[in-house]
Symmetry: C2
């Protein structure tokens, strides 16, 4: 494992910035991989330096990918590297899988400070260790100045499903209880605050976190989990609309039950945002059999005491999400039609 | 499967270009995925529209990734989509794996013509079908105008290894015979010709091609394959230096044996390029046991009659590549130290 107290292994005096040649397949790229990226992520599979990682694996697998283009690269509570590890770990967790192996593809812009790359690579390693996954294969490309934006990261991931639940939108059924694992809106607000130069009394930090621990605990406890989905781009609202459509069911939520921190609510009001549409990076919706709802809630609360039961599934209107407001009125919750928060992840 | 005679399923009159909102998690993104990208790649795993694809798989797996930033997006013999499928299929083939499943991550620049995206998505589907792989999971992000370059694609892939060979640089041993599956330099020259506005008597087309067919044929025939590596960025020279270093052996090649087409040789001279360093996208180096060399060559020639035996492995100097010139002199072949051809893949 890389010693994170070390300074950047590429001599910054000589190469203060990423050059096009760092992506050309020649000596500089070789150095970048052999001296910085390879050692930082080091593990036996990656260290074989082949065109891919080779490992034995048997069972039901999950495979997923996401690219990360978040702007800015660093924000309260995280950075693009941390996000790139958590995001793919979480997509695997949402399939009910135990995440095992990640790939990392970097698209660097010529001129990116080498120290920035080093910091992000270290952050990815730390996040991978914390989530219990290994980065086993990767790729680095460099685009010319003005044709990128610092860096973009793609991660893909493989996980193994060690239970018999079919966790998917199609498994959602009437009567299922909907839980959220905690308060919403922090990731989007943390990003917006940096972009807009806003200051709050106390900093609002991104909720970015690996979710495999809590999901596996639900499954190990035998909770009858029907569907899981992390509430990233488009927020809780868009996530639920997608699931309602795929499940051909109505999801009814109670506004008063949805956990939103006061400072986040205030920031949303100031920015003209609805927290229901703001991106999260450590929050997920869980649809469970009604008889297991209380047990599921207790487990979620071991990880975050703001977790809550927020709604239920009905069979009367397929593909619809409805919300009961605090004053008892009911309205349809739709997907966002325009653009709310670009490049949030 | 998508009907490729259809026009773009996103109404181009209404959305002639990609908007930031096509990546925001709202309605436009949902439409882009549900109407264009999803149907184009359609297969049962992708169609489940979950956070990842879930499938059973047992055995020794290979896992790899590459991002594609080639400029321009279209070039003689291919496009970025075709390249993105072939590149990852080939990395899996180089591990001796049968490629099965691919992911596709798109980073689109605001303003990308919708028709361009449609054309590339169709090209990816066609390439995947031809290579016998499925695109089972994906992601789409949009960056603001001027922060990308049309589109970048990441593919990751999973393949299965159905034999007992350990195909890796560490398996290369003295006496091994080195083969190339055909003439080199066409991909790089095809790209450079477009960039520089060069015209040749007959167009030089990229050699981009899936290599899983020929590799599996070698393995099925029982050829004792020790290492395989596609000669992409940095060309044949960089590929061989990497393998010589990893194998701690000397690789000696004969200049006169290396197949280079006359038109490619002429173009290289005009552009001041050494074909040994020019990128290929359908060429690979194969290290096989000496007793199987002729049989391997015969199989390679079934696919391309320019395939050749170009060298052999020795144990006298670890980590070195040497080349005997046409006039009998021997010189060291090194990695490129500067930048030859940026954004070639």
């Amino acid at each position: 494992m890389a010693d994170f107290t070390l300074t950047c292994p590429i001599p910054i005096a000589q190469y203060p910035q990423v050059l096009l040649a760092h992506g050309s397949g020649g000596k500089l790229m070789h150095n970048l991989i052999e001296k910085m990226i390879g050692p930082a992520f080091s593990n036996p599979l990656l260290d074989s330096r082949h065109d891919g990682a080779v490992f034995p694996l048997n069972g039901k697998l999950a495979f997923t990918t996401d690219s990360y283009v978040v702007h800015p690269l660093f924000f309260p509570g995280g950075d693009i590297g941390r996000l790139a590890v958590h995001g793919t770990v979480n997509d695997l967790a949402m399939c009910g899988a135990r995440p095992l192996y990640l790939s990392a593809g970097f698209i660097l812009e010529e001129g990116l400070p080498m120290a920035t790359l080093w910091q992000i690579v270290q952050s990815m390693r730390a996040a991978a260790d914390a989530a219990g996954v290994q980065i086993v294969t990767g790729d680095t490309k460099v685009v010319d100045r003005g044709k990128g934006d610092g860096l973009f990261i793609n991660t893909a991931g493989i996980g193994i499903i060690e239970h018999d639940h079919v966790i998917a939108p199609a498994s959602v059924r009437p009567g299922d209880v909907l839980l959220l694992n905690g308060d919403i809106g922090r990731h989007g607000i943390a990003i917006m605050a940096v972009r807009e130069g806003l200051e709050f009394e106390s900093a609002i930090e991104s909720d970015t976190a690996p979710l495999n621990g809590v999901v596996l605990k639900l499954l190990d406890a035998g909770v009858d989990v029907h569907c899981l989905r992390d509430c990233t781009r488009g927020g809780v609202a868009s996530t639920l609309v997608e699931i309602a459509e795929a499940a051909r069911a109505r999801i009814d939520i109670r506004e008063s039950a949805i956990p939103v921190r006061e400072d986040v609510r205030g920031a949303c009001e100031m920015l003209g945002l609805d927290p229901l549409y703001v991106a999260n990076e450590g929050r997920f919706a869980a649809f469970v059999a009604p008889e297991d709802a209380d047990r599921a809630l207790a487990i979620l609360r071991e990880f975050d005491d703001s977790a809550a039961i927020i709604g239920q599934v009905y069979d009367d209107v397929p593909g619809r999400v409805t919300m009961k407001s605090r004053i008892g009125a009911s309205r349809i919750v739709d997907m966002l039609s325009g653009e709310q928060l670009p490049r949030i992840c």
